[in-house]
Symmetry: C2
Subunit: 159 residues, 2 copies
Amino acid sequence: MNGIARARRAVRRTSGDRKAIDLDILPSLLGFNIRRAQIALWRRFNRGDAEVDIKPGAFGVLLLAHANPGVAQVELAQELHIDKANMVALIDKLENQGWVVRKRSGEDRRRQGIHLTAAGQRAYRMLKRTVLEHEKNFALRYSDSERVQLLSLLQRMCV
Amino acid sequence: MNGIARARRAVRRTSGDRKAIDLDILPSLLGFNIRRAQIALWRRFNRGDAEVDIKPGAFGVLLLAHANPGVAQVELAQELHIDKANMVALIDKLENQGWVVRKRSGEDRRRQGIHLTAAGQRAYRMLKRTVLEHEKNFALRYSDSERVQLLSLLQRMCV
DNA sequence: TATTGTTATACTCTATAACTATA
DNA sequence: TATAGTTATAGAGTATAACAATA
């Protein structure tokens, strides 16, 4: 293929008039837009310099265990909308990383209280900085009132 | 730091008030709310009478192949934000279901054009009705202007 | 060299059922 | 009986690398 054809094709592709895919009703669907927003958010987050590897679930556990020392696994699961069966492996991983410990409750011996270790506290502080930095980049796209309204509208979807 | 978070943290859990988990900054994060909204949307969708089992990716392929007969796999992947490697298995499944067929392009023999079969057309029409029904239930939570603004704000997140 | 489709791999996420020990 | 945690399993989703055929 010669250079001219290559250049023309590149123009076609970037200008988008190649096929101009018809998205039909997709852009009008809440589910489609929520999904795309989450994909965009997630990709941009992972494309960051990636000093740390963190997933939403793990970050949520660290945050909740930091704010609620001794919180039970089932409570973490409820708040983060993670099944209690899947919470086990998540806690296992964090425990193997040395970031949390399980402590059996004396009052109710069924409950495993989750506590951050010193290393977990440090990890949480670092991760929180990363998350807030990422949040700041996305929040730049909105005015304060727009951001507030977006959060409000999203939260109404979970009622 | 954050005065609100500090104040919230001061409200400690007691044995009688186990449900009052401190969420700290989570409710203020776009990522957290996007994630929760998608989980809520997905759970409610799956909890429907489930006449049909449909996933977002598969529905997207059917819709795009319906609106763009002969669309290439790589174009489907780009529009739906699915990796082309993962698109293969998705198309495989739809082809095994008898809903789509691959047709090698004559102009560019690298391209596999995706076309709906008659069964695929019927399936698409049925699934579209289900999706729109589901969409209607969620849209009820918003006024028309709120819904438009929510879509607009979400789309800005993907730019 | 670049693109399209493909295989292979690995890890994450989600959902469900069944089990235990405690209440 | 009900709850908290666990194990096991299976199906999706996601990301990456490498390859063949084609451009």
